[in-house]
C-alpha cells in the first residue's frame, strides 16, 4: 500500500529525445493519459457518460529537455499548486546503452493527508469492523476540533 510516493522505472528502447517528446507533447499525452493537454494549465477529457468535460488543473514546474519533466496536478481550480493541495509528478530520463531509463515518481499522497482514506484502507487491510473504523475517525476528528 503506498500513500507517500509512487516510484516506478521502466526501460525504453528509444532515445531520451524521443521519450521526452512522448511525455510532453499533447498529441502523445492524449494517447498515454487520455487527456487533451493542448490548452496550457489544464488537462481536459470528456466524461464517459457524455455529460461534458472534466477539467483538471496542471502546472509545469520544470521542463529540462531531454532530462527532466516535472509538474503538479489536481489542485483546486483557480488556486496556485502547492505541496498541500496537489500531486507532484517527476519524470527523470537517464540515457542508457541504446535507450532510456525512465524514472517516475508521484508524491503527495501523504502530504495531502486524507485521513479518511488512510483509515478506510487500514480497515480493509486489517479486517477491522466498521465500528472500529468509525471510532478511529472519531479520534481523528476530535484532534481536528482541538486544533
Amino acid at each position: 500500500m503506498e500513500f507517500g510516493t509512487v516510484e516506478r522505472e521502466i526501460h525504453i528502447d528509444a532515445t531520451p529525445d524521443v521519450v521526452y517528446e512522448v511525455i510532453t507533447q499533447p498529441q502523445h499525452i492524449a494517447q498515454w493519459w487520455g487527456f487533451d493537454a493542448s490548452v496550457p494549465g489544464q488537462l481536459t477529457r470528456q466524461r464517459r457518460d457524455g455529460s461534458g468535460p472534466v477539467v483538471v488543473p496542471v502546472d509545469v514546474v520544470e521542463a529540462d529537455a531531454p532530462r527532466r519533466f516535472v509538474f503538479r496536478w489536481a489542485h483546486p481550480a483557480g488556486e496556485r499548486a502547492t505541496p498541500e493541495n496537489s500531486f507532484l509528478v517527476t519524470f527523470d530520463l537517464v540515457p542508457t546503452d541504446g535507450g532510456t531509463l525512465l524514472r517516475l515518481t508521484e508524491a503527495g499522497f501523504r502530504e495531502i493527508g486524507w485521513e479518511a482514506a488512510r483509515l478506510a484502507a487500514y480497515h480493509r487491510d486489517h479486517g477491522a469492523g466498521w465500528e472500529e473504523h468509525l471510532a478511529s475517525l472519531a479520534v481523528y476528528a476530535a484532534g481536528l476540533v482541538r486544533r
Binding site: M1, E2, F3, V6, R8, I10, I12, D13, A14, T15, V18, V19, E21, V22, I23, H28, Q31, W32, W33, F35, L43, R45, R47, V54, V56, P57, A74, H75, P76, A77, E84, N85, S86, F87, T100, L102, L104, E106, F109, I112, G113, W114, E115, A116, A117, A120, A121, R124, L134, L137, A138, Y140, A141, L144, V145
Partner: protein, 115 residues
C-alpha cells in the same frame, strides 16, 4: 471495481477542506452546510460550495429537509476513492507501458528512415 483513476474524483479531493468535510460526514453520519461550517474555520457559503463539488463527484448525496439540505457520504463512491488511492501505482504502470510503446514505435520508425 475499476482500477482506472477518475480524475474528477481526484480534483474533488484535491482540497483539504473538502477532505475534512468527508471526514466529518463519515464520523457524524449526516451534516448540513450550517452544522459543518460550525466545525471548520470557513464560512457557511464556502462549505456549501465545497459540498456542491463533492456532490458533483458523487462523494456526497443531498437530502432535502425543509429549508436545509442534509448531506451523507455516498459510501460506494467513497470506497471507490479509497480503492483508487491504493491503485495509483497500477495506473502509473499502465501509463508507463503506453509511453514505452509509443516511444519505441516512433524510434523504430525513425531508425528505418535513417537506414
Amino acid at each position: 471495481m475499476t482500477a482506472t483513476i477518475d480524475d474528477e474524483l481526484w480534483a474533488a479531493l484535491g482540497d483539504p477542506t473538502r477532505r475534512r468535510l468527508v471526514d466529518l460526514l463519515l464520523v457524524d453520519g449526516i451534516g448540513t452546510a450550517t452544522s459543518l461550517s460550525g466545525r471548520l474555520p470557513v464560512t457557511r457559503q464556502a462549505v456549501a460550495r465545497h459540498l456542491g463539488v463533492l456532490e458533483r463527484a458523487e462523494l456526497v448525496v443531498p437530502h432535502k429537509d425543509g429549508r436545509e439540505v442534509r448531506y451523507v457520504v455516498n459510501e460506494a463512491q467513497f470506497a471507490r476513492a479509497v480503492e483508487q488511492l491504493a491503485s495509483v501505482g497500477a495506473a502509473w504502470d499502465a501509463r508507463l507501458r503506453r509511453i514505452k510503446a509509443i516511444a519505441e514505435a516512433i524510434q523504430s520508425e525513425r531508425n528505418v528512415r535513417h537506414d
